[in-house]
Amino acid sequence: MNDKEQQGNGTGSTSAEEDRELVERAQNGDTRAFDQLVRKYTPKLYGLVYNMTSNRDDTADLLQDIFAKAYRSLSRFLGKSSFYTWIYSISVNMTLNFLKKRGRRVILSLDDVDSGIQNDPDFIKATTGHSPLRDVGLHELQKRLNEAMMKLSEDHRTVVTLYDIQGLQHSDISKILGVSEGTVRSRLFYAHRQLQTYLDDLVK
């Protein structure tokens, strides 16, 4: 399993089976089973929604709406796709709808940064030597990345979030968004090119 797979659904068939079992129990009225699904998917969906909205309060509200809708619609989930794809599709659609309603009113808020980042090889590599990142603080970096992300269109931001941050594969992203893999690759290409312009001083 490659790096993307580990970071993506990251779970393999065992997790899919576990999900199926939890979904069946939840469909039969076991609310604890649904709570388990919420616990399992909250960190991933939080990352998705937060990176699309760049606002913590909006993220918290949206996650509530997403799980409430998922609970209401659970009886209609037939298991044709994995629960993971299904819940991601709901999350992306609801977040995109929210962004359309919110329009240009954007209040950026920064999340806490895991101290594990200090040990991340990419971070170490990026912040040592002659890299421009060396002189940039973690919060400054976070702020710059968030600002650059918010300059992207919603469609481009979605694929960047799912691919670069969440680590999903092209095929999974195409299933979640309901577009072809070619479209996903094309959006990624243009999004990266735009980000290259916005973050030019950090990637030199």
Binding site: R39, G47, L110, D112, I117, H192, Q196
Partner: protein
């Protein structure tokens, strides 16, 4: 755009994975979800319940169920059409009146035929026998020239009529003379 640039951007964006949600967020979210579910259950209106059930019903319609639902709808439509008054047989008031007349019992040997009013104006006079028609035409002509009734009876039976008939009342000069008058003179 070169491949290394793409990787650099990807590596930079990957650092955002280290952003984490606030402590205890999951517990708080689950608690709020439970509260919300209870509130929704308490405050759910009849309309929203009906809508939700309808949505569930339509969502579960697949294959044979859809066919069954379609058959039920078609059946109901057929029953509705049969129960409705027959709009094709409904006519105007004349026809209704004729319908009432035709309902009356007739003596034996009689048959009630519907009136043919469609071509009555165009066919007026054509139904007369040719002899009667030739007798009537002088009468009509006399009306035309006199502006009133001429000596219709005489002209009607005088097959040797020549020229337009003139009423005696307006006979002021020897403009026209009838053959019988000339004979009498």
């Amino acid at each position: 755009m070169t491949e290394p640039d793409d990787n650099q951007i990807s590596r930079l964006l990957a650092l955002k994975r280290y952003e984490r949600m606030p402590e205890g967020f999951e517990d708080q979210l689950i608690h709020q979800l439970h509260l919300r579910q209870r509130t929704e259950l308490m405050n759910q209106s009849v309309r929203s319940i009906v809508l939700e059930r309808l949505q569930d019903f339509w969502a579960t319609l697949t294959g044979p169920r859809l066919a069954l639902a379609a058959a039920v709808v078609v059946g109901l439509a057929i029953v509705a059409v049969k129960l409705m008054p027959d709009s094709h047989n409904s006519r105007g008031s004349d026809d209704l009146a004729w319908g009432k007349l035709s309902d009356q019992p007739l003596p034996p040997g009689f048959e009630m035929l519907p009136p043919d009013v469609t071509n009555s104006a165009a066919n007026f006079g054509n139904s007369l026998p040719p002899d009667e028609s030739s007798k009537l035409s002088p009468l009509l002509l006399s009306k035309h020239f006199e502006g009133s009734y001429a000596d219709e009876l005489r002209d009607a039976f005088n097959s040797e009529f020549v020229g337009p008939p003139v009423s005696r009342r307006f006979e002021v000069g020897p403009m026209f003379r009838f053959e019988d008058e000339e004979e009498s003179k």
